[in-house]
């Protein structure tokens, strides 16, 4: 049996997946309602596969994936989400996520994906695959300088609407340092304002992860 941990904050989804996995070769070892719970559950159950939603309270799915990928031993990861933006898609690809399934696709895809991942292959939802191919073409001619991990983190904070003081608190640096970082990011990406950076954050991040 392949052991699975499911992280999704919506009870309807959790119950449905539990029912779907009944009488299959998969065993639901645990469920989590938030990112923090997901990591704790992975640590406890040590599953073969983590099935994770992107939109969750406390820590989102991408934060969970980043944390787990920073470890030596990590379960195979399948993203189960209602929607995925370009930057998350490219980041997931860069982090070597094994599967991506959209909740609005054919529900049979989930089992198909789990089967593929179980067998050691990657499986990506056709809609996501098509978008990924489009982005390949778009970014093929990209000339912007690559972004450092800290710069990407800064852009994510700006996209969330955090002020410099809040960003400084999150990063454990001074407000002045955040201003210097931001100025460097503005220069690198050729943007003139914080608003422009926030609006185009998805594009910048996606391109940056694509380069990785």
């Amino acid at each position: 049996m392949t052991r699975i941990v499911l992280a999704d904050d919506h009870p309807m989804i959790r119950t449905a997946i539990e029912v779907l996995l009944r009488d299959t070769r998969y065993k639901l070892e645990g469920t989590a309602r938030s990112g923090v719970e997901a990591i704790a559950e992975v640590d406890r159950a040590k599953p073969d596969i983590l099935l994770v939603d992107l939109e969750m309270p406390e820590a989102g799915g991408m934060e969970v994936i980043r944390t787990l990928r920073g470890r030596d031993k990590t379960p195979r990861i399948v993203i189960l989400t209602a929607a995925i933006d370009d930057s998350s898609l490219m980041e997931a690809r860069a982090l070597g996520v094994e599967g991506i399934v959209l909740k609005n696709s054919d529900p049979a895809y989930l089992l198909k994906c789990l089967d593929a991942v179980r067998a050691g292959r990657a499986w990506v939802d056709p809609e996501v695959k098509a978008r990924s191919a489009e982005l390949e073409v778009i970014f093929a001619g990209a000339t912007r300088a690559a972004l450092a991990p800290r710069e990407r983190q800064l852009i994510r904070f700006v996209r969330r609407g955090l002020r410099n003081r809040e960003i400084a608190k999150e990063l454990g640096v001074t407000e002045g340092t955040v201003k210097v970082y931001l100025h460097a990011v503005f220069e690198k990406l050729g943007v003139s304002s914080r608003t422009e950076l926030a609006i185009r954050a998805d594009e910048f991040l996606a391109e940056s992860y694509w380069k990785n």
């Binding site: 009870p11 309807m12 779907l20 209602a82 909740k103 609005n104 989930l110």
Partner: protein
């Protein structure tokens, strides 16, 4: 300033001069003791001055250009006449004192404090010189009288110089601030700005060209009662002046004021691009530059009754009022768009959390049933469970839609029924003990309150379960004519706090603020109480 007679400053000065000249002549003719010196020459001079005053009044009454051009020479004539009157007249009928006031007031009205001060100094020197001359040439002329009067003139001069600095500026008869106080969002600010400016100055024709940063130039035109706003071909080189100016395209005349309020004659083509003047069919009027943080433009007002140099001052006032009007409109529009965007985001979030997730879950369950059927298992319990969930979701969605498109008010009984059903549903959804109790009377509440209460309960319960691991939530509804109150008491962990400040869930706080209500969080006896008060009539937007 009378609207009927349109007595602008040039006309007031010309009329004042004419009346004074008539009065001097009459007074001296009646008083047999005057003129004290050279009677024939004095009468001749006063008659000549009367004719001069009449000619100036007639020539400048409807001609701002001549009024501006003759302002200096007529002022010099007035000063000269003052000096002669000091020499030739004495006693109570001597008009020199009144004339002194008139000449200084003219300077204060026309120019400003510098010119008033210079005029005052010149008049006092001339008065002293004339006094000295009279003391030398006439026996018994008391010099001390001239010195005392000079002191009086100095005091009066200081008062009039102060008046020139602070007091006088032509003012718009109907305050444009009032006319522009209501930036109607359903109309272009150019329309409302143009019509208000025309009303303020009584113009019959107006053109307002506006170029928003990174936007297409817009042109508002009003002739009589016909008002149009249309996009305009990109304008090159619309160099805005720092202040308003008068123009007469046909006669090739324009008048501006410099920083010292001196009137400067200009060529209109230096101020208005000739092709623009032709496109806009400009003739004669006042041009008003308008600048805001997001754009700039030029307002042209024509067919103005009694167009005068005062209109330069009036134009400068209009410029500030129009800029404030455009900015106020932009601010209101931005606030409206922001509220709309927030509503869209809230709606999207609600739909995502309810409908999208539910449908995805239902699809997975159907897939599971399909596989169960293939393995020969009975589907009835699964189907019944799914049907029940679907009916509940449908009921909730129907309530949501009804509230969205319904009338302005719903009965409290409907709200009580819906919240009771929601509490049951939340109990099952989160596997907790969620109870609902109503202590509200028979009232009508706004549909917004119905919608907000529904979403707030869903969100508050979800937060209590997700973040505080609550296993029981008690919901109590109370209401009076002013407020609908919801108390949600859960047995979960305390909310995170910074010092004594408890961190309220942001989305809850935002939703309550948008609804115009307030939210309070308290902790005690191992339970958390969230007290929400919503205005029963809905938000005061």
């Amino acid at each position: 300033m009378g609207r009927g007679l349109q007595l602008y400053s040039g006309r007031v000065i010309a009329l004042g001069r004419l009346l004074l000249a008539t009065s001097f002549l009459g007074a001296i003719a009646v008083d047999i003791s005057q003129p004290a010196q050279a009677p024939v020459e004095t009468f001749g001079l006063l008659i000549a001055y009367l004719v001069f005053s009449a000619l100036v009044a007639a020539a400048t009454w409807d001609n701002w250009w001549l009024d501006a051009k003759l302002a200096g020479p007529t002022h010099a004539v007035d000063i000269g006449l003052f000096t002669v009157l000091v020499l030739l007249t004495e006693g109570y009928t001597s008009p020199f004192f009144v004339f002194f006031v008139f000449v200084l007031l003219s300077a204060a009205i026309r120019w400003g404090w510098r010119e008033t001060a210079l005029t005052a100094i010149l008049l006092i020197i001339l008065y002293l010189v004339a006094g000295l001359f009279a003391a030398h040439s006439a026996v018994g002329f008391p010099l001390y009288r001239s010195i005392i009067r000079t002191g009086h003139l100095v005091i009066l001069s200081l008062i009039l110089i102060w008046f020139g600095i602070h007091q006088w500026r032509a003012r718009i008869p109907a305050r444009s601030e009032d006319l522009l106080a209501d930036p109607k969002l359903d109309r272009s600010p150019l329309e409302t700005g143009l019509t208000a400016a025309m009303t303020a100055l009584g113009a019959s024709r107006g053109v307002f060209l506006w170029i928003e940063d990174a936007g297409e130039p817009q042109l508002a035109t009003c002739e009589g009662s016909q008002l149009t706003v249309a996009s305009f071909e990109p304008v090159k080189g619309m160099n805005l002046t720092s202040g308003a100016f008068l123009y007469d395209i046909a006669r090739n005349r324009a008048l501006t004021r410099d920083a010292q309020r001196n009137l400067l004659g200009r060529n209109p083509s230096d101020l208005i691009e000739p092709h623009l003047a032709a496109d806009l069919k400009l003739d004669e009027g006042v041009a008003v530059p308008v600048r805001t943080g997001t754009g700039e433009g030029q307002l042209f007002l024509e067919d103005l009754p009694g167009l005068s140099t005062d209109h330069i001052d009036l134009g400068d006032q209009l410029s500030l009022d129009l800029a404030a009007h455009l900015q106020r409109h932009a601010l209101l529009k931005a606030a409206g768009e922001s509220a709309e965007a927030r509503s869209r985001l809230t709606l999207a979030r609600d739909l995502h959390d309810s409908v999208v997730q539910f449908l995805a879950g239902a699809a997975f369950r159907l897939e599971a049933m399909k596989r169960s059927e293939a393995s020969g298992r009975t589907l009835e319990p699964e189907l019944n469970e799914l049907k029940k969930l679907m009916l509940q979701e449908q009921g909730e969605l129907r309530g949501f839609i009804t509230a969205l498109r319904g009338g302005s008010q719903v009965a409290m009984a409907d709200l009580v029924r819906d919240l009771g059903a929601l509490a049951d549903r939340l109990s099952r959804q989160w596997a907790i003990d969620c109870t609902f109790k109503s202590e509200a009377g028979d009232l009508m509440v706004s549909t917004n309150v119905h919608l907000d209460a529904h979403q707030l309960v869903r969100e508050a319960v979800a937060n209590a379960v997700r973040h505080a691991q609550a296993t029981s939530v008690q919901i109590v509804l109370t209401a009076d004519r002013r407020f609908v109150r919801l108390d949600l008491i859960n047995n979960g962990a305390a909310f995170p706090s910074h010092g004594e400040q408890v961190e309220l869930p942001q989305s809850l706080r935002e939703r309550v603020e948008q609804a115009g209500g307030n939210i309070e969080l308290s902790r005690g006896m191992d339970v958390t109480k969230l007290a929400i008060a919503l205005p029963a009539g809905g938000p005061n937007r």
